[in-house]
């Protein structure tokens, strides 16, 4: 459970983040309406802890069993406050090209390629589907970091696509011959405009990205953010691309199969 998440020797911001995630995990667990289950431990640090010499912390179900309405109210308030820490829809957005470059760099840091599901930069409950939505449905700010709103409608099994960046403590990484895509599919460039002042088209697939606000709204990184996140119906002005979305393809595109040479026959 949260309080038992492993300390590690990484930089302070990461520590803060883990700490915040741990705190939040506790909140979520307490509020969670999912059925009873064993407390979601990661690897605990000391053998003694489970060997019985140190008292174990209460599980969520035990906490719930206490039916402490006062605390419950506190937790609810806590989550609300985390949500309120997000910028308001009407706040002015001031951003630079440097912000944009930084946003794209950050975006690339937890994806194998443009279009890959992002990996999770915090510990998660390995044994169960955690209640990811508590934070990621609307987005929250924890210790200055944003947990973004999801870009797609909630599917039930989050962890089947999103895996943790760092293995649970106790499972150790060993060096190996890694790999990457070279060249890699770069991140989408800016959409095209018919003329200056026209709304840009959407330069990427909208598949699994129905919620534009995830990246372009108040939970988005500065540099990718819309100047007008209060306007909710994005697609009425910003045209999608059928090709990007694997919908209809013109015959000309189908014919263009030779735009790049075929793989060679042999060596």
């Amino acid at each position: 459970m949260g309080t038992r998440l492993p300390p590690s020797g990484v930089e302070t911001t990461r520590m803060m983040y883990i700490g915040a995630a741990a705190l939040l995990a506790s909140l979520v667990g307490f509020l969670s309406v999912v059925r009873d289950r064993q407390a979601p431990d990661g690897f605990s640090e000391s053998p003694a802890e489970v060997a019985g010499t140190a008292p174990g912390a209460l599980s969520y179900s035990e906490l719930r069993a206490r039916q402490d309405p006062e605390s419950l109210g506190l937790y609810e308030l806590g989550l609300k406050q985390l949500r309120e820490a997000l910028p308001a829809l009407t706040d002015a957005v001031v951003q630079t090209e440097g912000d944009r470059a930084n946003a794209l760099r950050m975006r690339a840091s937890n994806r194998a390629f443009n279009g890959a599901p992002p990996t999770v930069p915090h510990a998660v409950d390995q044994s169960a589907e955690p209640n990811c939505l508590a934070c990621h449905q609307t987005g929250v700010v924890i210790a200055g970091k944003v947990a973004p709103a999801m870009s797609h409608a909630p599917f039930v099994s989050c962890l089947q696509c999103h895996v943790v960046q760092k293995a649970p403590a106790g499972l150790s990484e060993t060096p190996y011959a890694g790999n990457e895509f070279v060249p890699s599919l770069g991140f989408a460039q800016k959409g095209s405009r018919a003329w200056s002042g026209a709304p840009p088209t959407v330069p990427h697939s909208a598949w699994m990205r129905e919620n534009c606000g995830s990246c372009h709204g108040v939970t988005g990184r500065l540099g990718m953010r819309s100047t007008h996140p209060d306007r909710a119906n994005c697609k009425q002005c910003h045209a999608l691309s059928a090709e990007f979305d694997q919908r209809a393809f013109s015959s000309a595109l189908v014919l263009s199969d030779a735009a790049e040479p075929l793989p060679s026959a042999g060596h």
Partner: protein, 797 residues
């Protein structure tokens, strides 16, 4: 910069020019009609390389390399979604340690050799003693790869020494289908997951192992539908977290549970009398036991199952009586649609055939069969365990299209299609997997007549059970020679005498067949690295070398090459790699193989139909208008063309020759090894979400490896407390066959009950199969990786 219009125009013109030049050179157009180019990236369809679900991915290629993967929205299986393995699948191509040259072990060191020499060496091994040369392949063989190997061994060497790793994976499902319906593979399909009210997982964890099928089912809840999920298992998993009921049973007692439910259906008179009366027979073991068994009267079945009362079942299995009643009441309702899913839990079982029979029997007895949502469906773990192993028949006893070597007519049909002299194909089955490796591990004097095994697309050094007995001994024997075609160094290549570098996935043309009878096709999109080459080519090149040396088996009855292929009246030099992609060798092999598919009504469409579709489910029958129509529900009149009018259901390959399926009586029997004072724990092995099989591909994908970098032993909190073991603490796991040091994980990914342990098998550095038991099912010969006795030693040095 070109604007969009200009771009379209110019690319269309270039295409036309190139197409014309291809035609001039006589080269067939082999490009996919689905290919599209966006921002300089060529996108085309391919089935995922990993599991048996058979998702389609969109593969993006730029500058000769894969640069991205996307879910394929036109694919019926996955409808645009992938799991974390699928999203990262193409990274498996780009590990820095790809094998790129043929390597020969000489004086303990590997030396690079030419392909010419490598092909000679393999041919030498055949020439010295063709009878002792074996092929060990896999359910990851593409259909043409498996077909080529099958023809090489059964038509060329005529020794039937070919078996696949799928023997370790779904052989019990095959024997279960054969003895129940007379013909292999599920009658239902994934559409059942969209329609069922209740889904029962029998020792199955699809949330991790078949995530796309799991989300296809469970995402229905997000849309407001009610889906009741019942998990019958021996440990809590991620799937359990979604289930409405969890039935935890003692290993092996799944048989008692299934019998208990059938007992209640009969006792409560809630079985489907009409379905049983019209479409079922009852069956029990014959003396001696055979796969078809013998027919028994209903009264005898009833009497035999009578002892499986809820009290008795509960006592054996540990499942509360109320839960047995609950299951029986669900099966007793006609208004609910029930789908059962299973995979390794029921197949890797010394009573694997029996438990498969029982789950089929339960669905038949209760009439939960053959309408959308009502289906007993086995899942496969490999992308073409069905397409290649089960349909092409790359098993020691089988021939293509559901035929067997022991059947005179079947051999004749095969000899005819292969244009072989009568009597070429041997009636004697070769060795099944465990026996093949046992023979290879024994000196010739001691009866070990297999002297050479050629391994393609699999990793037996890690995945055979009890590898110290079945794999390693041969490596000390002078006259044994191990040839391994693979893409990376593995626990098998490290012991090989000859390593052949292979092309993988979209580096070659290919076809797979998934768990729901769906045959899929893809084209080569990028070149393999270095001198890596297609496995089909490797097989054909050796066959041709043997032909050139006068080996009689590589000639057909007219003296032509066994793999003779023609295009426009000219022979194709399929053995010449420089010319290999001048033609579509896959299409050639598939069109020949397709001729075998009608006998068992598993009709396959022409190759070009699969080019058009994201797979088609057989039987694919041609309509009067010339179009090809797939079949979703076999044996059901409303969908299967082979069911006669008015019959409603027809099991047209029935073992009792009367169109009926068999409901078996299969008693519970205890497992061969159970925990005792010395080895007090149950040990179960299996997989995790992030890694596929022995991890040779997924452990080279940074995102997957970072999330799950090593194996561990999962244990119960009570046991950990009692033994003073903490999470992360390294403990030694011991069985009667081996020992292994692993970190313990308490309440980790899964939670075994007290007295049980679980270890995943993906980690080559922590190879659990040095500890597992090689005991196997008597019919399927599939070993049981799911239960043996073990102990934990804390503080072992």
């Amino acid at each position: 910069m070109l604007d969009r219009r200009q771009f379209l125009k110019s690319s269309a013109m270039t295409a036309a020019t190139l197409a014309a030049s291809r035609l001039a050179a006589g080269e067939p157009k082999r490009n996919s009609p689905h290919l599209r180019v966006l921002d300089g990236v060529r996108w085309d369809k391919a089935p995922c390389r990993f599991c048996g679900t058979g998702c389609h991915v969109q593969v993006g290629v730029k500058e000769g390399k894969v640069v991205a993967i996307a879910g394929d929205q036109q694919a019926e299986v996955n409808k645009g979604l992938l799991c974390v393995k699928g999203y990262h699948v193409a990274l498996a191509l780009y590990g820095k340690d790809r094998l790129t040259k043929p390597l020969l072990k000489e004086d303990g060191a590997y030396k690079e050799i030419s392909w010419e020499r490598a092909i000679d060496i393999v041919s030498d091994r055949v020439m010295r003693d063709p009878a002792g040369f074996a092929f060990y392949g896999s359910g990851q063989w593409t259909i043409p790869e498996g077909y080529a190997a099958q023809k090489f061994i059964k038509g060329g060497l005529a020794n039937n020494q070919i078996d696949p790793n799928a023997r370790l994976c779904m052989a019990s499902a095959v024997t279960g289908f054969l003895s129940t319906y007379g013909v292999d593979e599920p009658a239902g399909c994934y559409d059942d997951l969209d329609a069922c009210d209740v889904c029962i997982l029998w020792g199955n964890n699809p949330a991790e192992m078949h995530p796309i099928l799991f989300s296809r089912l469970m995402d229905r809840r997000s849309r407001g539908e009610k889906v009741t999920l019942i998990d019958i298992g021996t440990r809590r998993t991620r799937s359990t977290q979604f289930s409405d009921h969890y039935l935890e049973f003692r290993p092996q007692t799944d048989l008692a549970i299934a019998n208990g439910v059938m007992h209640l259906l009969l006792k409560n008179d809630t079985y489907d009398k009409e379905f049983v009366a019209k479409h079922c027979n009852f069956r029990g073991d014959s003396e001696p036991a055979t796969l078809p068994g013998k027919q028994i009267p209903f009264e005898e079945f009833k009497a035999k199952i009578d002892k499986y009362t809820p009290e008795y079942v509960s006592e054996i299995s540990g499942v509360p009586e109320a839960q047995i009643h609950m299951l029986a009441s669900l099966f007793g309702r006609r208004d609910l649609k029930i789908t059962s899913l299973w995979c390794m839990g029921m197949n890797q079982h010394t009573r694997g055939t029996a438990i498969n029979n029982l789950v089929h029997g339960l669905h038949l007895l209760s009439g939960h069969f053959g309408t959308p949502g009502n289906a007993p469906t086995s899942l496969t773990g490999q992308p073409s365990a069905c397409g290649t192993v089960r349909e092409v028949g790359t098993l020691a006893h089988a021939l293509p299209g559901g035929r067997v070597v022991a059947n005179d007519d079947h051999r004749k049909q095969v000899e005819e299609i292969w244009n072989l002299p009568p009597g070429r194909v041997s009636p004697k089955p070769g060795y099944h997997t465990v026996a093949m490796w046992e023979s290879f591990s024994k000196p010739k004097e001691a009866g070990g007549d297999i002297h050479t095994i050629w391994v393609q697309v699999t990793n037996p050094g890690q995945t055979l059970p009890n590898v110290n007995k079945l794999f390693k001994p041969s490596r000390k024997l002078e006259d044994k020679f191990l040839i391994v075609s693979d893409v990376y160094p593995t626990a098998t290549t490290m012991h090989a005498d000859l390593i052949l570098p292979s092309a993988m996935w979209v580096e070659k043309n290919g076809m797979f067949g998934n768990s729901e009878r769906r045959t899929q096709q893809w084209f080569k999109m990028v070149d393999p690295p270095g001198e890596a080459r297609d496995d089909v080519w490797q097989t054909l090149a050796v066959a041709r070398r043997l032909y050139d040396r006068g080996f009689p088996g590589m000639k057909d009855k007219n003296g032509r090459f066994l793999f003779h292929m023609e295009e426009n009246g000219k022979e194709i030099e399929s053995w010449n790699f420089q010319r290999y992609y001048d033609h579509n060798v896959d299409e050639q092999l598939f069109e020949e193989y397709r001729k075998f598919s009608k006998l068992k009504h598993k009709d396959l469409a022409p190759y070009q139909e699969y080019v058009k579709h994201r797979g088609l489910r057989w039987p694919v029958v041609q309509d009067e208008d010339g179009s090809w129509r797939e079949t979703r529900f076999r044996f059901s009149e409303f969908d299967d063309r082979y069911v006669g009018k008015g019959k409603k259901f027809d099991f047209y390959h029935s073992t009792s020759k009367d169109g009926r399926a068999q409901i078996w009586f299969r008693p519970y029997e205890p497992p061969p090894e159970v925990p005792d004072g010395e080895y007090p724990f149950w040990l179960c092995t299996g997989r995790v979400l992030e890694h596929w099989h022995s991890g040779t591909m997924t452990m080279r994908i940074p995102q997957l490896r970072a999330a799950m970098p090593q194996a561990y032993v999962e244990m119960n909190r009570q046991d950990a407390r009692r033994l003073g073991i903490g999470s992360g603490q390294v403990v030694e796991l011991q069985t009667r066959r081996g020992r292994l040091k692993l970190p313990a994980w308490i309440d980790g990914r899964g939670q075994p009950p007290a007295g049980s342990l679980f270890v995943p098998f993906f980690d080559e550095n922590l190879a659990i199969n040095e500890l597992t038991l090689e005991a196997y099912d008597p019919f399927s010969k599939q070993p049981d990786y799911k239960k043996c006795a073990a102990r934990l030693v804390v503080g072992a040095k």
